[in-house]
C-alpha cells in the first residue's frame, strides 16, 4: 500500500515535469508544431537594417504574419539581405508589396512592416520584395537635424 502511494506520486511527478516542459514550449516560447511547413520565404534588400535581428516580427498593418529568418549581406550590391518566413495563410501579398523597417515605440525593438501593393500577381516562395525602406537610424536623424540647423 505504501509503495503504491509512492509509485503514484512518482508517476504524477514525472507527468508534472513533462507537462511543465510542454507548457514552457507552447506558452512561454510560443513554439508552434507546424512551424516552417506552412510558410513561404521571401527576401528583401535594405540600405540599412538598423537593429533588426533574426526572429524579429514581420507584420502587415501591425499584425504579425511571419518572422525574420536570417540576415546577410549581398556582396554584389553591398546591401543587407533579409530572409523572412511568411505564414502560408498570408497569401494575399501582391508581388509589388513594399517592406519597411519600423521601430516599436521610441527605443523598442525593430520589426518589418509590409505594405501591400496593387498587382494581381501574388508573392510566392523565393520571391524578392523590390521596394524597401530602410530603418530610421536615430543618430542620422539627429545629425541631419543639427546640420540643417547650422546651415540655416
Amino acid at each position: 500500500m505504501r509503495t503504491r502511494v509512492m509509485e503514484i506520486s512518482v508517476g504524477a511527478f514525472m507527468l508534472a515535469g513533462i507537462l511543465a516542459l510542454i507548457l514552457l514550449a507552447l506558452n512561454v516560447s510560443g513554439l508552434t508544431v507546424s512551424d516552417s511547413s506552412g510558410s513561404y520565404r521571401v527576401t528583401a534588400r535594405f540600405e540599412n537594417i538598423g537593429g533588426l535581428a533574426p526572429r524579429a516580427k514581420v507584420t502587415l498593418s501591425g499584425v504579425q504574419i511571419g518572422q525574420v529568418r536570417s540576415i546577410g549581406i549581398d556582396e554584389r550590391m553591398l546591401m543587407a539581405v533579409v530572409e523572412m518566413d511568411i505564414n502560408g495563410s498570408a497569401d494575399y501579398l501582391s508581388s509589388d508589396s513594399s517592406a519597411q523597417i519600423l521601430t516599436a515605440g521610441l527605443l523598442g525593438e525593430q520589426y518589418i512592416g509590409i505594405i501591400p501593393g496593387a498587382d494581381d500577381e501574388m508573392l510566392k516562395d523565393g520571391d524578392a520584395i523590390e521596394n524597401t525602406q530602410s530603418a530610421l537610424v536615430l543618430e542620422n536623424l539627429v545629425s541631419k537635424f543639427l546640420f540643417n540647423k547650422v546651415t540655416e
Binding site: V10, F13, M14, L21, L24, G30, K57, G108
Partner: protein, 260 residues
C-alpha cells in the same frame, strides 16, 4: 616555516585524494552494468525522496521569485513606457538562469544534504559493510539509484520552477498591475526561443543535477563515520554544491549565450 609548508602539502594531498576517490565513485556508478529490473524499484523510491519531496519548496520558491520578478520588472520598465516587456523579462530570466540555478541551490539544501546524511549514517552503522558482506555492491544498491534519481529529478524540478515562476509573474503583472494580457504573452513568446532558451536552461539543470548529486553522494560515502564526520560532510555538501552550481552556471552561460 617548514611546518607550514608541510601542512600545506598535506592539505593539498588530502584534497587531491578526495578528488581521486570521487572520480572513482563516479566511474563505478557509470560503469556498473545496469540491471534495470533490480534497479527500477530502488530508483523509484529515490525519485520519491529526492524529487517528489522537494516539490513543495520548489513550487513555493518558484512562485514567489516569479512574483518578485514581475513586480520589479514592472516598476523598472514602466519608467521607459515598455511595461509590456515585463513578460519577456520574467520568462527569460527564469528560463535561462533563475529556474536552473535557484532550483539547484534549493535541491542541494533539501535533497543533497539528506542524501549525504543518509549515506553517511549507513556507513557509520555498518550498513554499507553488511551489504558488502551479503555480496551486494553498495555502489549498485545505494549509490547508483540515488545518483540517477538526482540526475532525473533536477530538470523536472527546474521546468516546474520555471513554469510556476512565469505564472507568478503573470499573476502580479497582468492580474494585479493590469498589463494587457495579450502583449504580456505575445512579447514573451516572441523573445523566448525554445531551443536557445528553454533547452539550454534544461541542459543547465541536468548539469547541475549531475554535480549536486555527485557531490552529495560522494560526501556521504567518503565521510568519517561519526556524528561530527556526518555533520561536516553534510555542510560540505551544501557549500561545495552551491559553489559548483554558481561557478558552473557562469561557464555554461558563457558557452551558451555569451560571445566569450
Amino acid at each position: 616555516m617548514l611546518d607550514q609548508i608541510q601542512a600545506l602539502g598535506r592539505y593539498g594531498l588530502t584534497r587531491l585524494g578526495a578528488v581521486g576517490r570521487s572520480g572513482m565513485l563516479l566511474a563505478h556508478v557509470l560503469v556498473a552494468r545496469p540491471q534495470p529490473l533490480k534497479m527500477f524499484p530502488l530508483l523509484l523510491k529515490q525519485i520519491y525522496f529526492v524529487g517528489v519531496l522537494s516539490l513543495v519548496i520548489i513550487l513555493v520558491s518558484g512562485m514567489f521569485i516569479g512574483m518578485v520578478l514581475g513586480l520589479q520588472g514592472y516598476t523598472i520598465l514602466v519608467d521607459y513606457g515598455s511595461e509590456q516587456a515585463v513578460g519577456q523579462m520574467v520568462a527569460l530570466s527564469l528560463v535561462r538562469e533563475l529556474a536552473p540555478v535557484v532550483a539547484a541551490l534549493l535541491f542541494a539544501g533539501r535533497a543533497g544534504s539528506a542524501l549525504t546524511a543518509e549515506i553517511g549514517l549507513m556507513k557509520a552503522t555498518e550498513q554499507l559493510s553488511s551489504l558488502e558482506m551479503i555480496g551486494v555492491d553498495p555502489y549498485r544498491q545505494i549509490i547508483a539509484p540515488r545518483f540517477w534519481a538526482g540526475f532525473i529529478c533536477m530538470p523536472i524540478l527546474s521546468a516546474i520552477f520555471a513554469i510556476v515562476g512565469v505564472w507568478g509573474g503573470a499573476l502580479v503583472s497582468v492580474d494585479w498591475l493590469g498589463i494587457y494580457e495579450g502583449s504580456f504573452w505575445a512579447n514573451m513568446q516572441h523573445s523566448v526561443d525554445f531551443y536557445e532558451d528553454i533547452l539550454n536552461g534544461l541542459i543547465k539543470a541536468v548539469a547541475f543535477g549531475f554535480v549536486v548529486t555527485w557531490i552529495a553522494v560522494f560526501q556521504g560515502y567518503d565521510c568519517v563515520p561519526t556524528s561530527e564526520g556526518i555533520s561536516q560532510a553534510t555542510t560540505r555538501t551544501v557549500v561545495y554544491a552551491s559553489l559548483w552550481v554558481l561557478g558552473l552556471d557562469f561557464i555554461l552561460t558563457a558557452l551558451m549565450f555569451g560571445d566569450l
